[in-house]
Symmetry: C2
Subunit: 319 residues, 2 copies
């Protein structure tokens, strides 16, 4: 427990879970969207620091072709450089069967596939229709599940799309149901451009529950582009969600969607959860140190407000 | 209504008010804490733009001695330069009877007094004890009320204090009750250093209600130092609060408390409220334009995430 938050106490709020699992997406979703390309040793140290801080789910890298994501071209070397900790799940993004083969060769036990709720983003990000992307995922998910591997399904643009505007709830549910029917074990709802507000979050969760996808299989993935990520998180937790994606220090965004900067920073999320007395197992002080270290590697300050505030020392040392 | 938000629709959430009044604190609380000192004509134009955008409560300036707040030394000239609009309340901060005399001379109809929930901050900010500051306010509030003037009571450090750590709820209630007993017509609960989380907000509101201060007389004043302001706002609205303080473009902070940067930006608040279908009467697009204009006057970008996102044009023009 961080000294910072302890000084300001914990006050629970009715209707919230006692424990939340953070899916730390910094090494993949974060670094993929930074312009700097880091050495593999730095990435391996980053992942080790995240595990040291208490993370139990870490998205490590991607098997997307290096032509598309040069930042993660070292997936094989990186996974070989990680010393797995007991109790920690190291996820890797897998776009297709070729990616799955590479992941299986490296004994990856947790993969993720990446879908879109809108046709425009599917075209721009995956270069195919939504239906065609689901066809591409089908054998990936089936083979992974046969091998006993957990499969997270990312679903992008669940709230708004920069080209299509508001994305109807029914359209999101339609794609979500198909992804789960393929065999995904978890669905991460992405607000890729950060436009969601809490009512829309709850409406989508309710519609997914009606369609048979309960909050036990759902994660939320909010971006802080408009500053809404933590209010949306609060609304999702009240509705029963217990897995929240966040990126150390607020690393990354989405290069294919304008204004899509601003993954929710893990530290800002931790400040909220610790203040509410919700356990995560992740140490805030260790995360702040890690994100300050990563900011030095990238040569730019962390966009996380909590990292910035605590780096100043104002609230931690009592002066 | 902004084209930006309309494109992403409105989805209400149960238990929230239909309408919220924003108290726009940019010209006083915001500019007081900027290092630049702006010409009086710029401030007058700022206030006119805020009224044009639809604000009905605008905190304009302060009658604190210019020695302490040189940024607002032009209070008399500024108030003379404002052409009041019907239906708009122009508040001014008044620290003592001398300040009240100046305000009355200028026909100010809305004043605010400024208290502290902690002894350390009272000493540092007001140079006196909490009890002595209340004695100083007593004749100010009494004379103002006799003159038919509304008196907002600001209460700082309602959640945490950088020197004292967590501030007990009972201590905040103790000071709050005394401020209301003096005759304040509204109480603005300040999270001066931005450390609050939603459970603590609700606990304080409940304790104040038990002490006879209902949400109808309460405003919330959150800082975004740790990124918590909008989640706290959501929790407060659910508990019945309908007045929220915010600062155009996120101007200002508090120079006497370390790490106290980050007034909640009016635009970030508007993005949330519009997305929830909560009426404010304030136009988001006009606010973004005003805050971009003010950023040019100050020679630095706005810290508001919504201003930054919409200035890029990504979500507004659909590209």
């Amino acid at each position: 427990m961080s000294p910072a938050v302890t000084r300001y106490g914990h006050t629970p709020l009715e209707g919230l879970p006692e424990r939340v699992t953070i899916c730390e997406v910094g090494p993949r979703d974060g670094l993929q969207n930074e312009s700097a390309v880091l050495p593999v040793q730095v990435k391996a140290e980053f992942i080790a620091r995240l595990a040291d801080a208490g993370h139990t789910v870490i998205e490590t890298t991607s098997f997307v072709h290096p032509k598309w994501v040069p930042q993660l071209a070292d997936a094989e070397e990186l996974l070989a450089a990680i010393t797995p900790r007991p109790g920690v799940r190291y996820q890797a993004l897998v776009p297709n069967e070729r990616g799955l083969d590479r992941a299986l060769d490296l004994r990856v036990r947790d993969i993720a596939v990446f879908g879109s709720a809108t046709e425009t983003f599917a075209q721009r990000n995956l270069n195919r229709t939504v239906a065609s992307s689901l066809e591409m995922f089908a054998p990936v998910v089936a083979r992974a599940r046969e091998a006993g591997i957990a499969v997270r399904g990312y679903l992008s643009m669940c709230f708004g799309d920069p080209w299509e505007g508001e994305v109807p709830v029914a359209q999101v549910v339609h794609v979500a149901v198909r992804m789960m029917a393929l065999g995904c074990t978890e669905l991460s709802l992405g607000d890729t451009i950060g436009v969601a507000t809490p009512g829309r979050v709850v409406a989508l969760l309710d519609a997914l529950a009606d369609a048979g996808i309960g909050t036990g299989r759902i994660a939320v993935h909010f971006h802080d582009t408009y500053g809404q990520a933590l209010a949306n998180t609060l609304a999702a937790l009240r509705r029963g969600v217990t897995t929240v994606d966040a990126s150390a220090g607020g690393l990354g965004g989405c290069p294919y969607a304008r204004s899509a900067t601003g993954n929710l920073a893990t530290e800002d999320l931790l400040w909220q959860l610790e203040g509410l007395g919700i356990a995560t197992g992740v140490d805030l002080a260790a995360m702040v140190e890690t994100s300050l270290w990563m900011a030095r590697q990238l040569g730019r300050p962390s966009p996380s407000r909590t990292v910035t505030a605590l780096a100043g020392g104002g609230s931690r040392d009592g002066n």
